[in-house]
C-alpha cells in the first residue's frame, strides 16, 4: 500500500473569470515535509482552502491514506487528519491554551457533563511537550506571543495523533513570516522531530528556509503545479526560475505608457517608523511616478501603506507634502492633503455596497456637489457618468447599486472616487487582488492614465511581476526594513530574481 498520507489528484477550481486551480496533483508521504511555493496568485491559497474544506473542488479528488474524502467544513478536514495552521491565527485569545487545543472536541474530558479541567490540561501538556512549549496549559492565549500561539496551533494538530485512525498532515501557511530567527530555529527543530508523528506541508515565500527543512518541493504558477523538485538537488535560483516562468510581455503592463517622473516632489518620507512594523523608511515621490513596494507578508509594507494613508500613526520620522510637513491624525487629514487609499478589502474600506455608483464616486467630495446644503443630483450624475465613461466602468447606470458590480468595476468606482476628490497621491494596496485576469489589464491601463494626469502612485503589487511591470522605482522591504531600491525605467526593468534576493 503506497505510504501516501495525503494525495491531491487532478484538482481544478474556477471562479468567474479566473481559473484558480488547473489539474493540480501532488502527494505527501508519511513522515515527509513537503514544500509548496509559488508567487502570490499562483493558486496556493485556493488549494489550501480546498484542503481545509472551505472550498470544494470542481474536479478531481482529495485522498487521505488512499481513501477519497469529501471535505465540507474545516471541522471535517480536521477530523480526517488535515490540520491547518493559519497565517492570521485561529487561536481565540479569550480561551486558555488547553481550551483552544480541544475547542469543539471537549467530549473526551467530560465527567457528568462537566469538563474535567485537570485531565484536559494534562492531555494538553502532553501535546505541548511535543512542541517543546513550556507554557502552562491553563494560560490564557491573550498572554501568548505570536510564535507561542503558533506552537499551540501545531499542538492542536498533533492532538489528533492518538485520537483518529488516519495519519495526520499539518499544513503550515507562511509560519515563519513574523518569527525571530531564534523562533524559526525552534520551529524547524520541532518539525524535524515531528516527522515520526505527522507529515508536514510547508508553504512559504522564504525559499532558503523551504530548502533547509523540506524533503520535496512543489512549485505552483498560474494555478498549475509546474515543477516537483527534491530539496537536495534544488537551489534558490532554480526555484526562482520555476516560480517566475516567462516574464510577461511589456504590453501586458502598458510599459510603453510609463511616463518619466516629473521633477516636483509631491510626497517625501524621512526615517518613517512604527514599532513592531517597520523603521527608517525614506523616499521621495514625484508627480507621474509609480513607486512600487515589494515585500512578502511580515515585510511591513502593509503597515507602511496604512501610515501613509493616515489610518495609523507613525512613531518616528516625518512626512512632507509639497515641502510642508504634515501630521496625519486620520484618513480625513490624508484626504485633505491629497492622499487617497485604494484598500485591499474593497467591500470593507473601499466603498459602501448599498450606495449607488454615483453616491460612492462623490463620497469623498460631497461638499463640492452640494449648494446651499442640498445635493446637486444632476451635477453628481453628470460627473459620475463622465468617469463611468472615462474608466469604462461596466454598470447598468450610475444609479445601480455598487454591490452588484464585478470586482474590477468596483475597483474602478473607488479609483473614480479619488479622482473626483482630486487627490494627488494614490496608494494602491493590492489593486488587482480578487479581480479576473481580463479586468487586471483595465486596472493597469488606469494606472497609466492616472500617472499621465500627473498623479503619483504608491503601489503594493499583488505579484512581483506586477510591481516590476508598473513601477518606475521599486523599494524592496523585508522584516520592516528597506533592503534595496531599484530603478525600473521603461525598457530597463530589473530582473525578478535580483529583487527576490532582497525580498525573501
Amino acid at each position: 500500500m503506497s505510504d501516501a498520507v495525503l494525495e491531491v489528484e487532478h484538482v481544478s477550481k474556477a471562479f468567474p473569470g479566473v481559473k484558480a486551480l488547473d489539474d493540480v496533483s501532488f502527494r505527501v508521504n508519511r513522515g515527509e515535509v513537503i514544500g509548496l511555493i509559488g508567487e502570490n496568485g499562483a493558486g496556493k491559497s485556493t488549494l489550501l482552502k480546498i484542503l481545509n474544506g472551505v472550498y470544494q473542488p470542481d474536479a478531481g479528488a482529495v485522498k487521505v491514506d488512499g481513501r477519497p474524502v469529501r471535505l465540507l467544513s474545516p471541522r471535517q478536514a480536521f477530523d480526517s487528519g488535515i490540520a491547518m495552521v493559519f497565517q492570521e491565527q485561529s487561536v481565540l485569545s479569550t480561551l486558555t491554551v488547553a481550551e483552544n487545543i480541544f475547542l469543539g472536541r471537549e467530549q473526551e474530558f467530560l465527567r457528568w457533563g462537566l469538563i474535567d479541567k485537570r485531565r484536559m490540561n494534562a492531555a494538553a501538556a502532553v501535546e505541548l511537550k511535543k512542541v517543546h512549549l513550556d507554557i502552562g496549559p491553563a494560560t490564557p492565549c491573550a498572554r501568548l506571543t505570536f510564535a507561542e500561539r503558533q506552537m499551540v496551533e501545531i499542538a492542536k494538530a498533533l492532538s489528533l495523533d492518538s485520537r483518529i485512525a488516519s495519519d495526520i498532515t499539518i499544513l503550515l501557511d507562511e509560519p515563519t513570516s513574523v518569527l525571530e530567527s531564534r523562533e524559526v530555529e525552534l520551529l524547524f527543530s520541532i518539525i524535524r522531530d515531528l516527522k515520526a508523528r505527522a507529515s508536514i506541508v510547508f508553504i512559504s515565500h522564504r525559499l532558503e528556509e523551504v530548502l533547509a527543512i523540506c524533503d520535496r518541493i512543489y512549485v505552483m504558477r498560474d494555478g498549475k503545479v509546474v515543477a516537483e523538485v527534491p530539496a537536495a538537488e534544488a537551489t534558490v535560483h532554480a526555484l526562482h526560475t520555476h516560480m517566475v516562468g516567462r516574464q510577461l510581455h511589456h504590453e501586458y503592463y502598458r510599459e510603453q505608457r510609463q511616463s518619466p517622473p516629473g521633477d516636483e516632489v509631491i510626497l517625501r518620507a524621512d526615517g518613517l517608523g512604527k514599532a513592531g512594523a517597520f523603521r527608517d523608511v525614506s523616499f521621495e515621490l514625484r508627480a507621474g511616478e509609480v513607486l512600487g513596494i515589494a515585500g512578502v507578508i511580515g515585510s511591513g509594507r502593509e503597515e507602511l501603506a496604512r501610515v501613509l494613508a493616515g489610518h495609523a500613526a507613525p512613531d518616528a520620522g516625518a512626512l512632507t507634502v509639497h515641502g510642508r510637513p504634515v501630521r496625519l491624525a486620520g484618513a480625513s487629514d490624508a484626504v485633505a492633503n491629497g492622499i487617497g487609499l485604494v484598500p485591499a478589502e474593497r467591500k470593507v474600506e473601499g466603498l459602501v455596497a448599498q450606495f449607488s455608483v454615483a453616491e460612492n464616486m462623490t463620497l469623498s467630495a460631497l461638499g463640492r456637489f452640494a449648494s446651499r446644503g442640498v445635493i446637486r443630483f444632476a451635477a453628481e450624475r453628470a460627473e459620475a457618468a463622465r468617469w463611468v465613461e472615462r474608466l469604462h466602468v461596466r454598470t447598468p447606470s450610475t444609479a445601480a447599486m455598487t454591490g452588484g458590480l464585478s470586482g474590477g468595476n468596483q475597483q474602478k468606482v473607488v479609483l473614480a472616487k479619488w479622482r473626483i476628490a482630486g487627490v494627488e497621491v494614490l496608494i494602491l494596496d493590492h489593486p488587482t487582488r480578487g479581480i479576473d485576469v481580463g479586468a487586471k489589464e483595465d486596472v493597469y491601463e488606469l494606472v497609466r492614465d492616472i500617472t499621465a494626469d500627473g498623479l503619483a502612485v504608491i503601489l503594493l503589487g499583488d505579484t512581483l511581476d506586477e510591481v516590476i511591470g508598473l513601477s518606475s522605482r521599486i523599494l524592496v522591504m523585508r522584516d520592516g526594513a528597506v533592503t534595496a531600491t531599484f530603478d525600473a525605467p521603461a525598457g530597463g526593468k530589473p530582473e525578478q530574481v535580483r529583487i527576490l534576493e532582497h525580498m525573501v
Binding site: 484618513a331 484626504v335 485633505a336 487609499l341 473601499g350 459602501v352 450606495f355 463620497l363 452640494a370 445635493i375
Partner: protein, 313 residues
Amino acid sequence: MARIDLQAWLPILVLAALVAVVSLYDPGFFTIANLLEITANTMTLFLMAAGLTFVIMIGSIDLSVQSVASMASCILAVFLPTLGLAAIPLALLGGVVAGALGALISTRLRIPTFIATLAISGVVLSAGFWISNAQSIAITAEARDAWLGWVTGAFLGVPNEIWVGLVALAGLSALLQLTPFGRLIRGVGAQEQAVIASGVRVERVKLWAFVISGFMAALAGVTMAGRLGSGSPTLANEFLLPAVAAVVVGGTAITGGVGSIWRTFVGALIIQVVRIGMTFMGVSVFVQQIIFGILLIAAVAATMDRSKILVVK
C-alpha cells in the same frame, strides 16, 4: 431609483391591514374624524421616533429621549411665564445639549451608545426634577393659547399637531434624502469603515445625528406639554420603548444603514393603531400586552432587510 419591491411597501400594507381589521370590527373607526384623531395622537410619538431614526440608522441607539422630552416640558412650563415665546427654543436647546453630550461621551470615551445614553438619561432625569423642583407645573390657558397655539389649535379642520408632524416629516426627510449629511448617515450605518477611509469626519456625523435626536425629543416634550397644558419631570414616561419600536416596526434596521423618516411615520401609526385598535375592538385589557409583544416581533421579522446582515447578534 432603487426598484420598488414588496420590502419597501410592507409597512404601509401592514398599517392598511390593521386599519381594515379594526374597521371591520367597528366601522366607527374608519371615519375621517377618527383617523385624524388617531393621527394627531400619534404625532408626539412620531416626533420622538423621527429623531431617533437618525441615531438608529447609524447603528447606534439613544436611550435618553424619554428623559429629554420630560425635561424639555419642564423647561417650557417653568420659563414660559417669564420668557414667553423664548421658552420654546430654550427647551429645544436643552435637548440639543443632552444629545451632544451622549454623542461626545460615546465617541471620545469610546463607550457603546447603549450605555452612554443610558447614563445620560439618568443625568437628564435629575436635571428635569431640579428644574421643575420635583413637581408638575401648570401652563396657564392664556400662555397656552398665546404661544402654544401651533400645538393646540387646528387649521383647515386638521389638528395642528398633524401639521407639526408633517412639517417634521418633510423637513427631516429632506435632510435625509437631499443633504450630504443625510447621505453620510446612510453611509455610516451601512459601512462605517469605508466612509472613514473616504476622508469623512464620522464623529461629526454622529454628533449631528444625536443633536437631531435630542432636538426632536425636546420638540416632542414641548408638544406634549402643549397638549396636556403642563410640564412634569415624568411627563414622557413609558415613551422610550414604543419610540424604538415605531422606528424598527417601520422597517428601519436596528443594525443601521437602511431606513427613512416616512417609514418611522408609518411605524408610529402602526404602534398607535395596534394599541388604540385593541381598545376599539374591546380586546380585554389583560391580553393587550401579549398581543403588542407578539406583533412587535412579527413586524420586525417582516420588515427586516436580511440581505445585508451576515451575523445577527
